[in-house]
């Protein structure tokens, strides 16, 4: 078990290094940040001073080294717009985002998993058809369209709920519903197929053939096995708690990390963008690590074997 965990840990660190390198490479490839930030017709002294203060005048490998060192210290640069530390800018937006994504995650799990299980147990009945219809709709309706439709109905036509802003919890209702619906649909579809897969296995037939009550078969044998693939999806959802609301935050003008990212991208505020990129990567890696540990706990077979790509 310790060996399994240390393998995972090495992989997680590698992924982080990969992201940092990725960020550094595209940062270098994207041209001269000095010219991007200051306009090309800025005075040469100003450009020179800018380059010095950002360390852009040193050789590339040295920049790469410094870049790693700086990130290890938590120094992710300053926003090129207002000069505040990028990390600070990002961190102060996190609570707003979590205020949307955590309730949405609860909604997704609370609706998606039971719906998927129910649909699988009542295959080809009306409930199953309805669940699948809902899940297909959740998959094909983009979140910005869903959000705007909700605004159109509940804000514009009915006037029940506010269409944007973050003044009270009421403002969060529409964004949470928008986020939760799509995720619940995906989760329902996934849980259903995982359950169907498990229900078709010989050990389920064996369990029910040996006279175990159907309820016990489901609880003791089917659910734990169906949980294995489902945990992956949930892990991915947990990992995207920080940045999973980019579009929805924009639709509802919610001042979270996602909105910050969109504005930073539009303004090409590279320090903020890379901070968010690294922040998201770190969250994803932590979530994946947790999922891996859960796997080890749920499925002892995986403690020694590498998880084959579920293609």
């Amino acid at each position: 078990m310790l060996r399994y965990l240390s393998t995972r840990l090495v992989r997680a660190l590698l992924t982080i290094c990969f992201v940092v390198t990725f960020a550094f490479i595209i940062l270098r490839l994207s041209g001269d940040p000095a010219l991007l930030i200051l306009s090309p017709d800025a005075p040469p002294e100003a450009i020179e001073a800018f380059r010095k203060s950002w360390g852009l005048d040193r050789p590339v490998w040295e920049q790469y080294f410094h870049y790693f060192a700086a990130i290890a210290e938590g120094n992710l640069g300053r926003s090129m717009r207002d000069g505040r530390p990028a990390l600070e800018l990002v961190l102060e937006r996190v609570p707003a985002t979590l205020a949307l994504t955590i309730p949405a995650l609860i909604l997704k799990i609370g609706i998606g998993i039971p719906a998927g299980i129910y649909a699988a147990l009542h295959r080809n009945k009306l409930a199953d058809r309805l669940t699948m219809l809902f899940s297909v709709a959740g998959f094909t309706v983009p979140s910005f369209v869903l959000g705007l439709l909700l605004v159109l109905v509940f804000s514009v036509n009915l006037g029940w709920l506010p269409s944007g802003g973050q003044d009270s919890w009421v403002h969060g209702i529409l964004p949470v519903i928008t986020l939760g619906t799509a995720g619940a649909a995906v989760l329902a579809r996934f849980t259903r197929s995982a359950m169907l897969e498990v229900l078709g296995q010989p050990y389920i037939r064996t369990a029910s053939a040996k006279g175990l009550p159907w309820r016990r078969v489901i609880i003791d044998h089917a659910l734990p096995n169906a949980a294995i693939p489902t945990v992956t999806i949930v892990g991915f959802m947990v990992g995207s708690l920080v940045a999973g609301a980019v579009v929805v935050e924009s639709v509802f003008s919610w001042p979270g990390v996602g909105r910050l990212l969109v504005i930073a991208v539009a303004n090409r505020d590279l320090a903020v963008v890379q901070t968010i990129l690294l922040f998201v990567a770190a969250t994803m890696v932590c979530a994946n690590l947790t999922v891996d540990m859960l796997y080890g706990w749920i499925d002892p077979r995986l403690r020694t074997r590498r998880v084959a790509g579920a293609g």
Partner: protein, 342 residues
């Protein structure tokens, strides 16, 4: 081997295998952190095969038969020893010289369905080796494929069929036709009939014998079935954990096995006539993991006749008075210490 020594020098063996060895670096269970170990899949195997003859390789799964076959074909590079085919060393896999050598040595597989491409009519697949080696125009290739289909006992109507439309025996015939279209002199057969029904097995064996006579083929015939080997082979080598333990005439081996391992294999063959029934020798346990090859004679932990010498001293292949060669202290009467068992 002793037989070949008596023959005139001009009649060179088609295939000469000398001290062939192949080891793999493996990790014991535990992923990245498992201990590195060396697996000796094949360890010092030597034999000769003359044109038009058949040598059988027999043993339990994991004894190195298939690895030997892959080494002979050059699909795998040996870590020791050498393979000479028609007097030339077998080149490294993937090189132009290796590809050219494919024309002279071919392979037949255990699973004929897996060895055929499901989306291509079998006739086209029979023609494919000619296309790969750029032989003949399309019309000639087609005519040649028809000849081969006929030679393996399938009519021209089979040309346009797909693999899944054929029976197991028919598929194996297609694989044979594809292997023979380049007119090779050596055919390596890796358990060619073990996936077939018993009734079909006999047909395929007869076909193999016909083809051998017709095309003057040499077979390296790998099997775990001693009875089949007796029907088809001129010589048999019994392998255990990467080494040959006994080699000689198949009738001799079957009637009077010298090595205790061969004795056990022979006693496992079911016999119909009650009069010929022999006491059954049942081996203790599984073959050991080749990574943990026992010291001395590798067979001693399972051997009913093992002596103290067998534990420390590895026996070498030596000729018996009747011509066959055996690697066993007991069989050669050299076991100077008492038995371990019982």
């Amino acid at each position: 081997m002793t037989e070949t020594l008596r023959r005139p020098v001009s009649d060179r063996p088609l295939l000469e295998v000398r001290d062939l060895a192949r080891s793999f670096q493996v990790r014991r269970a535990g992923g990245w952190f498992g201990k590195a170990a060396t697996l000796h899949a094949v360890d010092g195997v030597s034999f000769d095969l003359r044109p038009g003859r058949t040598l059988g390789l027999v043993g339990e799964s994991g004894c190195g038969k298939t690895t030997t076959a892959r080494l002979v074909l050059g699909v795998l590079s040996p870590t020791g020893g050498e393979v000479r085919f028609e007097g030339e060393p077998v080149p490294a896999p993937g090189t132009a010289a290796w590809r050219a050598m494919r024309r002279r040595m071919q392979m037949v597989y255990q699973d004929p369905l897996g060895a055929l491409d499901r989306r291509i009519p079998v006739g086209i697949q029979v023609m494919e080796p000619l296309a790969i080696h750029g032989i003949g125009a399309r019309a000639e290739r087609h005519a040649r494929a028809m000849e081969l289909l006929d030679a393996v006992g399938l009519g021209p109507s089979f040309f346009a069929r797909y693999p899944h439309e054929l029976s197991g025996g028919q598929r194996q015939r297609i694989v044979l036709a594809r292997a023979l279209i380049l007119d090779p002199s050596l055919l390596v057969c890796d358990e060619p009939i073990s996936a077939l029904d018993v009734s079909i097995q006999a047909q395929v064996i007869n076909l193999l014998l016909d083809l051998q006579a017709k095309f003057d083929l040499a077979f390296l015939f790998i099997s775990h079935d001693l009875k089949v080997v007796r029907q088809i082979c001129h010589e048999v080598a019994v392998m255990y954990l990467g080494r040959v333990v006994e080699q000689g005439d198949p009738d001799q081996l079957l009637i009077d096995p010298a090595h205790p391992y061969t004795q056990a294999l022979v006693s496992a063959i079911p016999v119909a006539a009650a009069a010929r029934r022999r006491p059954r020798l049942i081996l203790k346990g599984d073959p050991p993991n080749p990574v943990d090859r026992p010291a001395g004679c590798a067979f001693h932990p399972r051997c009913p006749a093992a002596t103290a010498r067998c534990v420390v001293d590895t026996p070498v292949l030596k000729p018996m008075p009747d011509g066959r060669i055996v690697a066993c202290h007991v069989a050669h009467g050299e076991a100077d210490s008492p038995r371990l068992a019982a």
